[in-house]
Symmetry: C2
DNA sequence: GCGTGGACTGTAAACGTTTCCAGTTTCCCG
DNA sequence: CGGGAAACTGGAAACGTTTACAGTCCACGC
């Protein structure tokens, strides 16, 4: 029952009603003892008035908002759903709410999220930027509250960090394709000026080298990390290299687009062209044929990042920045069945 | 550059540095005028100190947090990504941040989100509950801040509400199947005790009746609104009704599961069995064959809900609750090509 | 019966803003 | 150059909590 007198019940309303001081009300409500009958009176008044503490006031005084945020590029990318699920679980466990920012790969948006740490709305941030510019680094360095980065940072950058060597992952993909006898292995990458775009490109080259295959520029196409872009890129590549027999896609979205394009172009997967994606999202299990994909432990990365953040917000306030990493793992499915 | 003296810069730090009162600082910072040189001094001091206003203090004073929330069942369900995108766009436009709750269909979680309105962390809430219990209604009725419900409410319930007649949508799906000559049309539904489960079941029956087909209990299977559950249900149904030639699935996730199960059971889609999903999510475009699906305007519903909420938080504080609705639309794709 | 310690209580300050109010300066015009 | 209005300024209160501090009460042991 909300109180009829003006706004919602405050600690003072309760105090008057219970005939005690506001200090006592605060103490009882926070379980800090009190005489049995005081406790009883206060609790009675509180429930009667339907009291809910004003989080703003509490935060202002205590300096804690109980909120942490996760800034991702786009909720549409299924790689984030696993991450978000685990982050949320850890956050909830530790008594934090999770705020999600979908930055839309907009650099400004990302920086804004970073700066908004300073306004005390969020106590900490997990961010997974795909581009890391000098501005990002500056902003990260001067961030007012703890930040954990999912993704790679420059060597020696002093910030909690969860990474995965997607270069190795990309090499695994290529090796896998070579291992089933494919010799003309194409690569549909995202933009080369992104961190994952770079790493995966290097990994692709590593993989070719390891398999003793020549690298040929014409085998590589660039686009965005999206389905439609993947389909377009696949068509361009196919036109240029008609006898392609293997295809590595820099993420599952691109791969899904490629699968469709290949089908429309009349190529059979995996018989004509074997395909490997990356991220091992839920998508990989719903396509047809199901998609072989290199998992980058997104759930695990989310979990680790959240744990690092929660730790730093609690005990580990002053500990050294910690870098943890996760190893990629290839999950073979129908799209590379030999 | 953050000030070296103790915590982050406050309005008072600036005041001292600029040699003016905190009141003047506040006014300048909020663009409420001031003498040119005052403005200059304050702004200089502010940027020099890297000042960021403390949102908590501001909220406490002004009673506004600038945050609204959207509570959905599960971020994993792609139907929400379109919704979230639009909600976020509208929210941002109006100067609100969007907080996302993924309640996991946990009734307690949902109610918690509702109650947390009261703690002033969020100024308003958009909620899309799939089960609406008496508890929900009670909680909705007594919510301290504006709530907009995406989904159906009992007749005459006084709350802003965005709905779609998914009963009609389901009937459209069945008619479509009947229209391409299918006479044994199965139905994979979600739980019958959910709002969408109910509506879609009724619609399925409507559709059968309209097409002059008999309803047979054995044609209907129940499960969860998930891929794996959809696959299982499809197998059960197939075993019971081997000569099935049409299948309506209560959402795209179920349909995706069904497509896989059908393929594994050696049925060709659409030749042997034509399949229709519901929600018209991005998934419908990535499966093979691509999935015919009844769109329920999720992007539009998100947008409308956000607009209703924003309006109520601004101008429309006291206006009558408004019910708006969106009409379903069937998008035909390969899974029902005749 | 009295002192002592401990448990409890209330007063008041503090968190960082915004905003009301009254006082001051500035400016314009006659 | 004086008067008045308009623009600006600073002091102080308020938002709803938590918490340090000092005061009050009680029970207990001597």
């Amino acid at each position: 029952m909300a109180s009829a007198d003006g706004g919602p019940a405050t600690i003072e309303t309760i105090a008057r009603r219970a005939g005690v001081s506001i200090a006592s009300v605060s103490r009882v409500l926070n379980g800090l003892g009190g005489r049995p009958d005081t406790v009883r009176k206060v609790q009675a008044a509180a429930t009667e008035l339907g009291y809910v503490p004003n989080a703003m006031a509490r935060s202002l005084r205590g300096g804690r908002s109980g909120q942490i945020a996760f800034a991702m590029e786009d909720i549409g990318n299924p790689v984030y759903v696993a991450m978000v699920r685990r982050i949320q679980a850890v956050a909830k466990e530790a008594g934090f709410r999770l705020l999600l920012h979908s930055t839309g790969a907009d650099r400004e948006e990302e920086l804004r999220a970073l700066r908004s740490l300073a306004d005390r709305h969020t106590e900490g941030l997990i961010i997974s930027p795909i581009r890391i510019t000098r501005d990002h680094l500056d902003e990260l360095r001067r961030a007012v509250a703890p930040v954990v980065v999912i993704g790679s940072l420059p060597e020696g950058f002093a910030l909690d960090n969860v990474r995965v060597d997607s270069r190795v992952g990309a090499a695994m993909a290529v090796s896998h394709l070579a291992g089933i006898g494919r010799g003309r292995i194409g690569f549909l990458n995202g933009p080369l000026d992104t961190v994952p775009g770079q790493a995966r490109y290097r990994g692709y080259l590593d993989g070719l080298a390891a398999a003793g295959l020549d690298e040929r520029d014409e085998l590589v196409e660039f686009g965005e990390f999206r389905t439609d872009s993947g389909a377009d890129a696949a068509l361009r590549l196919l036109e240029r290299v008609p006898d392609l027999d293997g295809l590595f896609c820099a993420n599952d979205l691109i791969a899904v687009g490629a699968l469709r394009a290949l089908r429309e172009a009349g190529r059979r997967v995996p018989d004509d062209i074997a395909v490997v994606g990356m991220d091992d999202t839920e998508l990989a299990r719903v396509t047809w044929p199901t998609l072989t994909s290199v998992g980058l432990g997104s759930a695990r990365r989310g979990e680790l990042a959240a744990e690092l953040l929660v730790d730093r917000l609690g005990e580990g306030r002053d500990r050294e920045p910690r870098w943890v990493s996760v190893t990629p793992e290839l999950v073979a499915r129908e799209s590379t069945r030999s």
